[in-house]
């Protein structure tokens, strides 16, 4: 964060130490419309909002959130288990002793990123505003339990979480995907958007993929691509899903600069290489 005089400011500073100007709170008018605000208004107080927004604006946090939603699709109990990863990453960023209550700033961050995630989804999949509202409200009902404390104990059946995931999948179902090779995918398009975002914002992964395919023949490149996709899939989901790995391969190939025609030409061997039995041993 920078002052008008270009001095770098820490998040909890009230005044700039150089020009003594008060640190302006970013306009909160849009964010106060967040559905998370109504569930925990204290989280949107100026200081926690400043922290929360700063965290929510980081692409790695959005990518971690994408992973959170994906994981819940495969294992509903990740709704609570993945909290520790989210919190670890939050603390890596804000430091061990931020001057705001953790539950407040974190709820603000998770609310802002939730709103952004579903707004983006609504635009991509052409949801109506009522569809968007329903799925977001249902999501807030879940994370409300996981992140906010209540006066009474509450029991949540994991089948409810699975129902929510299925509904989201239905709302994301498409006839065609964004790539020519998507015709071989059987899960159009449950993963494309998340994978694209995660890959785009993970330069290390792309570097790793590039170094593993460079200077190799076509068949070796396909094998390496599948190997990379398998590793990345297991790292992200803690299990293997063939469609996810295939989608990963296509997106990585795209990021590596392979032309759509080349990917289309190689899509069958890529798909075959993503089949779990044909992947080389990790």
């Amino acid at each position: 964060m920078k002052c008008q005089c270009e001095t770098y400011l820490l998040l909890d500073w009230q005044y700039c130490p150089v020009c003594t100007a008060p640190v302006l709170i970013t306009d909160q008018s849009d964010e106060l419309k967040s559905r998370g605000f109504h569930r925990f208004p204290a989280a949107f107080a100026p200081l926690s909002y400043r922290f929360g927004k700063h965290v929510a604006d980081q692409s790695w946090f959005y990518a971690t959130f994408c992973q959170y939603v994906l994981l819940i699709k495969f294992d509903p109990t990740q709704l609570v288990y993945f909290r520790s990863t989210l919190l670890d990453r939050y603390f890596c960023f804000v430091g061990p002793n931020p001057p705001v209550a953790t539950n407040e700033a974190f709820w603000c961050a998770i609310s802002l990123v939730t709103d952004r995630y579903f707004r983006r989804r609504a635009a991509i999949y052409s949801w109506s505003s009522s569809q968007e509202q329903q799925i977001v409200e249902a999501w807030y009902d879940l994370i409300d339990l996981a992140f906010l404390v209540h006066e009474k104990n509450t029991v949540l059946e994991t089948s409810k979480i699975a129902e929510w995931s299925s509904r989201l999948d239905e709302m994301q179902t498409q006839e065609t995907g964004p790539h020519l090779a998507c015709q071989l995918c059987e899960s159009k398009c449950k993963y494309g958007e998340d994978i694209k975002f995660m890959i785009t914002n993970d330069p290390l992964a792309i570097g790793e993929a590039r170094s593993s395919v460079e200077g190799k023949s076509d068949s070796q490149q396909i094998e390496q691509l599948a190997w990379f996709a398998r590793l990345w899939t297991e790292r992200t989901l803690c299990l293997y899903d063939e469609d996810f790995a295939f989608c990963m391969s296509i997106n990585v190939a795209d990021r590596l600069g392979w032309s759509p025609e080349r990917v289309h030409q190689l899509m069958v061997p890529i798909r075959e290489s993503c089949h779990i039995d044909s992947c080389p041993e990790v």
């Binding site: 670890d88 209550a101 906010l148 104990n153």
Partner: protein, 69 residues
């Protein structure tokens, strides 16, 4: 499992988490007992009991929510 056992176990979870030092900063507790998992992170979020991957029990707080160094 009998309803009484259920109730006893559910009431025990926050105490158990407390005994195991939940209020240490960022400490994560995963405790296996009769195929169930207790999990808690710091004291900022609710303590949760995961029952055989089918039910999540979110506990109300029994102490101040924020860690104070």
């Amino acid at each position: 499992m009998a309803a009484e056992d259920d109730e006893q176990r559910d009431n025990a979870a926050p105490t158990l988490a407390q005994e195991l030092g939940v209020d240490n900063f960022l400490e994560r507790i995963i405790y296996f007992r009769k195929n169930n998992l207790y999990t808690a992170i710091g004291t900022s979020f609710p303590i949760v009991l995961v029952i055989e991957r089918e039910k999540l029990v979110f506990f109300a707080p029994h102490r101040p929510l924020e860690y104070e160094p």
